[in-house]
Point group: C5
Chain length 355, copies 5
Amino acid sequence: MMNSEPRRKQSKKTGLLPGSLVYTGAQALPTQISLLRYDAEHFELFENLTVDSAIESVGQSTVNWLIINGFENIEALEKLGTHFGIPALILEDIFNVQHMPKVEDNGNSLFITLKSLSLKSKGKEIEAEQISLFLGANILITFQEKPSQLFDSIIERLQAGKGKGRSRQEDFLAYLLIDHIVDQYYLLLDNSEEQIEKLEQMLLKSPTDELAFLFLDFKKNLSLMRKTIYPLKEEIRYLSREDTEIIQPITRQHLSDIHDHLSHIIQSLDSYREMISAMMDLLLANNSNRMNSIMKTLTLVSTIFIPLTFAAGIYGMNFKYMPELEWKLGYPIFLFLMLCAGLGMYIYMKRKRWF
Amino acid sequence: MMNSEPRRKQSKKTGLLPGSLVYTGAQALPTQISLLRYDAEHFELFENLTVDSAIESVGQSTVNWLIINGFENIEALEKLGTHFGIPALILEDIFNVQHMPKVEDNGNSLFITLKSLSLKSKGKEIEAEQISLFLGANILITFQEKPSQLFDSIIERLQAGKGKGRSRQEDFLAYLLIDHIVDQYYLLLDNSEEQIEKLEQMLLKSPTDELAFLFLDFKKNLSLMRKTIYPLKEEIRYLSREDTEIIQPITRQHLSDIHDHLSHIIQSLDSYREMISAMMDLLLANNSNRMNSIMKTLTLVSTIFIPLTFAAGIYGMNFKYMPELEWKLGYPIFLFLMLCAGLGMYIYMKRKRWF
Amino acid sequence: MMNSEPRRKQSKKTGLLPGSLVYTGAQALPTQISLLRYDAEHFELFENLTVDSAIESVGQSTVNWLIINGFENIEALEKLGTHFGIPALILEDIFNVQHMPKVEDNGNSLFITLKSLSLKSKGKEIEAEQISLFLGANILITFQEKPSQLFDSIIERLQAGKGKGRSRQEDFLAYLLIDHIVDQYYLLLDNSEEQIEKLEQMLLKSPTDELAFLFLDFKKNLSLMRKTIYPLKEEIRYLSREDTEIIQPITRQHLSDIHDHLSHIIQSLDSYREMISAMMDLLLANNSNRMNSIMKTLTLVSTIFIPLTFAAGIYGMNFKYMPELEWKLGYPIFLFLMLCAGLGMYIYMKRKRWF
Amino acid sequence: MMNSEPRRKQSKKTGLLPGSLVYTGAQALPTQISLLRYDAEHFELFENLTVDSAIESVGQSTVNWLIINGFENIEALEKLGTHFGIPALILEDIFNVQHMPKVEDNGNSLFITLKSLSLKSKGKEIEAEQISLFLGANILITFQEKPSQLFDSIIERLQAGKGKGRSRQEDFLAYLLIDHIVDQYYLLLDNSEEQIEKLEQMLLKSPTDELAFLFLDFKKNLSLMRKTIYPLKEEIRYLSREDTEIIQPITRQHLSDIHDHLSHIIQSLDSYREMISAMMDLLLANNSNRMNSIMKTLTLVSTIFIPLTFAAGIYGMNFKYMPELEWKLGYPIFLFLMLCAGLGMYIYMKRKRWF
Amino acid sequence: MMNSEPRRKQSKKTGLLPGSLVYTGAQALPTQISLLRYDAEHFELFENLTVDSAIESVGQSTVNWLIINGFENIEALEKLGTHFGIPALILEDIFNVQHMPKVEDNGNSLFITLKSLSLKSKGKEIEAEQISLFLGANILITFQEKPSQLFDSIIERLQAGKGKGRSRQEDFLAYLLIDHIVDQYYLLLDNSEEQIEKLEQMLLKSPTDELAFLFLDFKKNLSLMRKTIYPLKEEIRYLSREDTEIIQPITRQHLSDIHDHLSHIIQSLDSYREMISAMMDLLLANNSNRMNSIMKTLTLVSTIFIPLTFAAGIYGMNFKYMPELEWKLGYPIFLFLMLCAGLGMYIYMKRKRWF
């Protein structure tokens, strides 16, 4: 559902001892390691590092952001994880890319896994990518399955600006990343609102049967978004309320802001969902109404003409002795009576308010 | 949905560093600053102040109410906010006019954002305007997107009366404003009740297909109201229960009263919603009933006349040797038999209680 | 909904300073004040008191029950309220006759507002009347909009009996009144059960389209009852659990009993509601079944006779050269074939289990 | 609903002073008192006791079980209740046979009221009988409306066995009784499962319209069972968790077991309920499918033969100058064209996948 | 439902004294006892033990896993249970194979009962088998109804590997077993996703009436899975949070991981369920659409040809004096008019957008 690429078996890990590191995605991409090192005055970006060079390059007094893409070289990543104190169970969660959003607080380190959502190229389906953040002493490590431009704008702004962002610690950087991912959700929300307005107009203009399928597709997207965003909201709320050693009070306030945004998104999704249900009801009502009006026409025509046809049939019979047939005015009288009967029928039905 | 003006992109803030002050509404209006200064004996209203003159005019021993309309001059407002100790994150919330109702208690100051609801000129759609209250030491500041007459009656009553209202502190003034906004909700509630009665009568008199669309529109309004009012209720409840430094016990009792009102409104909205669902069911049942009665007529007519037509068709055939055709009484006998068949059919159907 | 009298605007209080005493009902009736004074040995009833005489007549060592009907003279009532220590906000709630049931514990006094429910004269609609009880030191004051016979039986029993009731305090008297109101709910419950059985029989005997409207009316009544009773249940539960100074332990046990009753009522209402939904489903199913059987008849008749009519039409054509017409046995053969065709059709449809 | 005997007015107690002992059932039966007295070595059963002889017969060092059937002699029972310390409010609950299951812990005594459920003789309707247990110091008293064989098997086993049951206290005996009643629920559960399988097969074989009514009846039974069992579950859970003086730890563990059973029953009832809803949906779908196939036949026949009949009608007209009538091959050509038209129509509809 | 073998009466235990050990399954299989004994260096597997030899073989310093299949010899198992300190009530739960998943913490021992789920050979129905784990001092005992290969892979891996698994205690072994069972759930989840995709394609390609039955079957499976997995999730959560003496902190973390997996499964099941509902709606909509298009054809044909047939019938009448019949151009004019009428009708309906 979440991905039309070679489907990921959710049971890929079945039959392994727990703690085994297994990438559960479709196809592992080459591992790329970059390091961003900055403080209020300095800013350095190292690319294509090996695990060893990455470990060496981490600065003591700067903010360190280790960016990891691609999970092909699991052994190297395990080594790296061990060096920076990532617990084995958390490493497992990082490579299990179908994990639900969650936050795990280990006292002196913090692990956050969440999904970034974006529209696929064709524009209707939603793609989810898992992003994991490990916030340790003096370092933030992010893990992604594929190289992406997702955080480019943040890197650029950090490089350019010397303001608030640069003088804060890793916890604030983590907040910046989460905030950026949540901003992506807003793009999807806008897209959803556009789509719902389009669907509403289609419903008003041409309530055809294909709409039901469009409604279903839209509902699926909403459901996927809710499924991805709701647990994140709960986790962020936890972070913003609890006293975590590793998150400073000011960052906590910012996280509380993110929680507000996520609440707003969830609420909007729920109201879209409701609206879609209401529109589905309308579509069904509309269909049954059109059916009604079709049946009315059928009934009108049949009720008027079937009896008349019988009457005409009578005078088409070949009985020898049918006095009416000999009358001079037989034909005009018949026509007149038929007209009366038809009109009478029509008026009767009008009175019953069928038309 | 909430606004048919140029649609506000919910993602307007995407790509900005958090803490940036951005107005998320459609079009920023010029900033207007007024100050109301009163105590039990005095009452002064200053209009068209600049930020500096506003800061200077605030009295030491009086109640101060700073009224701000229009968010064009964000820098000036930021300066004002800084002077009166409004945290940056709260300033951000003030300018984000799609924020959900919330209360934030910062120990020695209190921030409340909520929506006033009113009917649009055409009378069917509901318009929501965000109103933010900042209650600091010795001052109440209100923020609105547009100039409005919303609080005029309160200002007048304060000016006129020398009673309770004038001798209380800013927290009571804040309560007065919230109470006034909640009173607006009651106007909408009355309007909803009128509409529901109208819809009920339409359902009884002429259950046409357009009703379904009216039901949907009404449901949308109810949903918007609930979405706006429910979080406010929860927040007010928090205010009325918790020990906040800045709200005096007597005001807390009044807030508890507001909470009762909001509960009542929510309950009414929920019962309206239920009623609309029941009416929708009735409409569908009604449609299917009309369909039934139409089909019955069709069946009655067809079942009687189609066989008769066949019989007439038989005696219209041109076979050489059809003895009945030669009978003297052939025609009258035929007519008589047809009459019997028709009547028999009719009685059979009557007995089966179809009609 | 709750009242077919001149509709009460829920917004009547809009635009007033809070704390203003306003009667929100349709039409204020003249204020009548009575006082009941009794202990185990004595029993006195004073009627048509003024506020001053009422205040004077209150006994020191007896149980005092001040009965107030009609809210025309709000100033007098305010004076009375002030004398007996009724807080202003509670006075406001008393005159707001659309208030939801609630209990307010002020330490040394207790305020309870609830609704008595009764069937209107015509017997289908439910009428709600607000009754407020203020339990202060040494006095119980009850407030009603209209004079009524509701509590007459209690007064009589108090006058007659010298038993338990007479030797208890005001809190027990309050319990007696609430218990009596809850007993009224049982009358409505019985009525509802009767109605539901009647509706069930109507559904079985003559499932006509009007039933749907009766179901809706019934559902509305259930909904009104639930809305009125549920909050009361919660409040009574609070009273029976919490340590309130003014309610003695023994009365608390009795209140716990009332809570049981209210739970039972709510549960019954919910099961009635469920049953009505199930019956509505059955009605719809029934309608669609009747529709089916009507359509079957139409199809049976049409499927048999329309082709036969075509066949008869063929031999009614006037082509010069139609050999069959000349055959001696043409007519009987035709009739026989038609009979076969008709029977074949009928058997085919029987086999397909349509009939 | 629960009883087709003379309906019990739920309002029977309306208008009485609280604490009045009133039997709310249909018809009070003569009061019968028995006493069971046993310990590990002895076992005695006394029948047809008077209140006084019952009180005298209670043993000091044995387990005492007082069995009371029939509530005709309320005064005697009141006397008995007073002697064994049953509070007045609890006596009231015992005689109110429509009371919901509940547990009341009075410190040194425990009151439990619940319902035994059984199938009525005809086998479809469920009958509920109220059973009340009062567990006091050194005695267990059970109250039932009617004499029944319900506990006979327990008495026999107690008489026969010398095992665990005989050497335990009254609290264990109470547990035995409750467990026995819960076992009865399992019988009903089995019966329900049988019925649901029967209904499922009926749905597959002959989905007639009567099934809907059977579904409704079944749903009512499920609803009655749930209503009776759910509150009991909650109460038993309370008993098994809280520290009650009168229940020994080992009995508490057994009660926890009963709670597991009741949870299982509730869960099964809920899944039956769900299944019935799904089956109802299927039935509706099935009906609409049959309707569809009937309509298809009607359409097939009408669409083919109505135009053909018109064509035949044309050549049955009596216009003087109709050249085709004179053609030698007119008739065969006509027949051939008709055949083509009919086949063409049929193929067209086949292609559209209507059949 | 859960089993098509001879149905297990849920009431099998009715009428027995509580604490009696009764196997509630269909047919008890011979009891087989095996023992696995290992530590980091050693690994021994004993098969076909008697109770006595099993008790003797348990090692002091090794991990002991006693595997029991088949419940025929209940006495022997009771003896074994008594030796290892299994409380009687828990033994009862073990043999009651319809017990819901639960965890019971007795301080120094822990009892867990859960279900393994697998697809039956035919591949559509789900089979549940109860597995009970008793974790005592120095021993883990597992109970299964039937011999199975379920844990073979774990035994093999324990035999092969010398790693983490072998050096941990019994609590970790218990975790391994539970984890393995949860892995089986993932296999079912994958199967469900495949099925849902298949159903979706069937819905798009050939939305026949049989789909509704397939939907129902699928829904039943989902419901069974949820019913089995949800309580387990809750219990595992309890285990992973509470401080249990017998479970070490590191195992607790692993259990928390299992809880995450179970949450994910439940969430997926819920989203499948939702999707099935949406697809059912689509199927219904689709059916009603096909019905509509069939009705349209019927109406089109009838509305055009029934009036025309009447017209033809008129000129088939045998009145003596019908002037039109004598006209030279009577026939062509008639045909032309009929064509016009038919076309007009057709265009009218096209305009009304019926086709």
